[in-house]
């Protein structure tokens, strides 16, 4: 019987194509907009998360001054030195490594070719802490680190741009007046969370960098990689104590450095995404409400317009319940059609948007199912009142109407 009713509803929808399409429009637009936004939002946030993860996992970043996260930061605070790094390495437990970095954008020259790269002075922990993979060659030896030898490891972009993919190991690169021998090359990592090319990098022993490039012994950033994610807060507190002591900060005085937790940043991003999703949900609710009122309006018009038809059905022996079901099913079928079309359009828009914005296209089946369910529910809720009105018509009165 229900299937018969569905077919009845379908044929009545088909008999009024234009009206049906107009009824659908509200729901199509509502569902389409929501699906497109949520799908794009998912793609964008998963891209950001992926990029942040590329920075390294379980990483604490220590910078001088009360800076905000991001490239740059204040320079007036005391910077770190090698003894700070050594102290952290000695005193902290549960860590995979501590990497000091000092860096500068410089032109790297090979023969007639040159390329702008981030020239980074660091130690061999840097590879572990930042999750770099050496594709060929070797990291710095203890001797090279201690002596600040003129050796370097280069990123995939430099390998490509300066050596056209040929083996760079053993070649010499020039940076300003300084030259170094390439002893290793890194696997590609791609763009950073901030959109810069992480592979345009040249790494050399910190002491070599200080002496030959910077002309000072400042360390801009110390990265600490924690073994267990759950251990991050403890290590962070401990590192803070160590540095306060080293920098002789009296109790009650504020830190003159900042320790940032990358996972904390990820969590912040996740909550931002949650707020965004909540907002989208509100937009969805409003647009579905509008769509639902559209359906109710059309169904009410349709009940008035079809009074005679309803009278005929009742006179022929349809029960109240059957007429109610017919109109309800009609509303739900309409709403579901609207939902389906909306989902298709929304996914289409999201796919196009994802291509344009260069974010992954993440269609979430749960969101789609939810949109579908909400469309059906809209049909039920907003179809019920008109349907009941139809079912309660007096057949005689209904038949007299033209």
């Amino acid at each position: 019987m229900l299937w018969e009713t569905v077919k009845l509803a379908m044929s009545s929808i088909r008999r009024n194509v234009l009206r049906s399409v107009l009824t659908l429009l509200g729901i199509v637009i509502g569902v389409g907009a929501v699906i497109a936004m949520v799908t794009l939002g998912n793609g964008a946030s998963s891209k950001v998360q992926e990029n942040l993860a590329k920075l390294g996992s379980n990483m604490l970043i220590v910078r001088p001054g009360q800076t905000t996260f991001g490239p740059g930061g204040s320079t007036d605070a005391r910077s770190f030195d090698e003894r700070d790094v050594a102290a952290l390495k000695n005193e902290l437990s549960g860590i995979r490594g501590v990497a000091p970095t000092a860096q500068k954008q410089m032109k790297v020259v090979f023969g007639a070719l040159n390329y702008d790269a981030t020239v980074t002075g660091t130690n061999s922990d840097w590879f572990t802490v930042q999750d770099w993979v050496l594709e060929d060659g070797q990291p710095f030896s203890e001797t090279e680190l201690r002596a600040g030898s003129s050796v370097c490891v280069i990123g995939a972009t430099l390998t490509r741009e300066l050596f056209a993919g040929q083996d760079p190991i053993g070649e010499r690169l020039r940076i300003g007046s300084f030259s170094c021998e390439v002893i290793g090359r890194l696997a590609a990592k791609g763009q950073s969370a901030f959109g810069s090319d992480q592979d345009a990098v040249l790494v050399l022993p910190l002491r070599g960098y200080h002496r030959r490039i910077a002309g000072n012994t400042r360390i801009g950033t110390i990265s600490i990689s924690v073994t267990e994610a759950a251990d991050i807060p403890r290590v962070q507190r401990h590192a803070e104590d160590v540095l306060r002591e080293r920098r002789r900060i009296v109790p009650g005085e504020e830190d003159d450095f900042t320790i940032r937790d990358l996972t904390q940043i990820l969590a912040t991003m996740a909550s931002t995404t949650a707020i965004l999703t909540g907002l989208l949900g509100a937009v969805a609710a409003v647009s579905l409400l509008v769509g639902g009122i559209g359906i109710m309006n059309i169904m009410l018009v349709s009940v008035t317009e079809r009074t005679r038809e309803i009278g005929i059905r009742l006179a022929i022996g349809a029960l109240e319940r059957q007429v109610l079901t017919q109109f309800l099913v009609e509303a739900v079928v309409l709403a579901l059609f609207g939902g389906l079309i909306g989902i298709a359009i929304g996914l289409g828009l999201a796919a196009a948007g994802a291509a344009v914005m260069d974010v992954p296209f993440n269609a979430d089946i749960r969101v789609i199912a939810l949109a579908f369910a909400v469309s059906a529910l809209t049909g039920v809720i907003f179809g019920f009142f008109p349907a009941r009105r139809a079912a309660r018509l007096d057949p005689i009165e209904a038949l007299r109407r033209e």
């Binding site: 005929i312 022996g317 349809a318």
Partner: protein, 234 residues
């Protein structure tokens, strides 16, 4: 055929429309008994209450006062759904103005009462086709009312009324809009349904020629039954 309660019995049935100054008395105390298998013509001037009486007999409407029994059951006490079930199972109604569903094919119109009865699809199709054949509309099954002549629409309406095999066929001016040739065809069809299938027929007509097909003629005047006569040896 006189076993059990009569098919229809009216006792002092009145029907008023409107209220206060605009009160209209459509039926003013009607007593009437209709037995199974009868073929009755109802006549009378316009506004005399014929359609009102038909609607009550058809369990579509209820008297304002008095008793109306269908198969011995006091219809006044039934709910809207219970009356719908009576209509569905025992009564075929051919309305004054066809009342077919627009933009719906003849066969779908005829199938409609069977859909509400829950008849399975195959059987429904067969019975609807049979009914359409009976009224001489083979080959027109897929036409919508808009594509059919008045007479053809009237025959679709009759097919829809008889497709369920009703006990009682009510026809309100079934030949009202037809020329005399078509009118005769329709009347012969109705007479055949009464004679061959034993369907009780009550029909309203203005034309004595059509009333001649019936076995009994009831004349309404001003909400009363003015005369009620049987044809001798039909």
């Amino acid at each position: 055929m006189s076993d059990g309660p009569p098919l229809v019995s009216f006792a002092g049935v009145t029907r008023f429309y409107g209220e206060g100054g605009g009160l209209v008395r459509a039926l003013a105390g009607v007593d009437l008994t209709i037995g199974k298998g009868e073929f009755i013509a109802i006549m009378g001037p316009s506004g005399s209450g014929k359609s009102t009486a038909m609607n009550i007999i058809g369990c579509l409407d209820r008297p304002s006062s008095g008793s109306f029994k269908f198969l011995g059951v006091e219809v006044n006490q039934l709910s809207q759904d219970q009356r719908a079930l009576l209509r569905r199972n025992f009564i075929g109604f051919v309305f004054q103005g066809f009342n077919l569903l627009n933009r719906t094919t003849a066969i779908e119109n005829v199938e409609l009462p069977l859909i509400y009865r829950g008849t399975p699809k195959r059987e429904r199709r067969e019975r609807a086709l049979e009914a359409l054949h009976l009224v001489g509309l083979q080959g027109r099954e897929r036409h919508t009312p808009g594509e059919l002549s008045g007479g053809q629409q009237q025959r679709v309406a009759i097919a829809r009324a008889i497709v369920t095999g009703p006990l009682l066929l009510l026809a309100d001016e079934p030949t009202g809009n037809l020329d005399s040739q078509r009118s005769h065809e329709i009347m012969e069809l109705i007479a055949r349904l009464n004679g061959e299938r034993g369907i009780t027929v009550v029909m309203v007509t203005h034309e004595p020629e059509m009333a001649d097909f019936a076995h009994r003629t009831i004349r309404f005047v001003d909400g009363h039954i003015a005369s009620d006569g049987r044809k001798q040896a039909a």
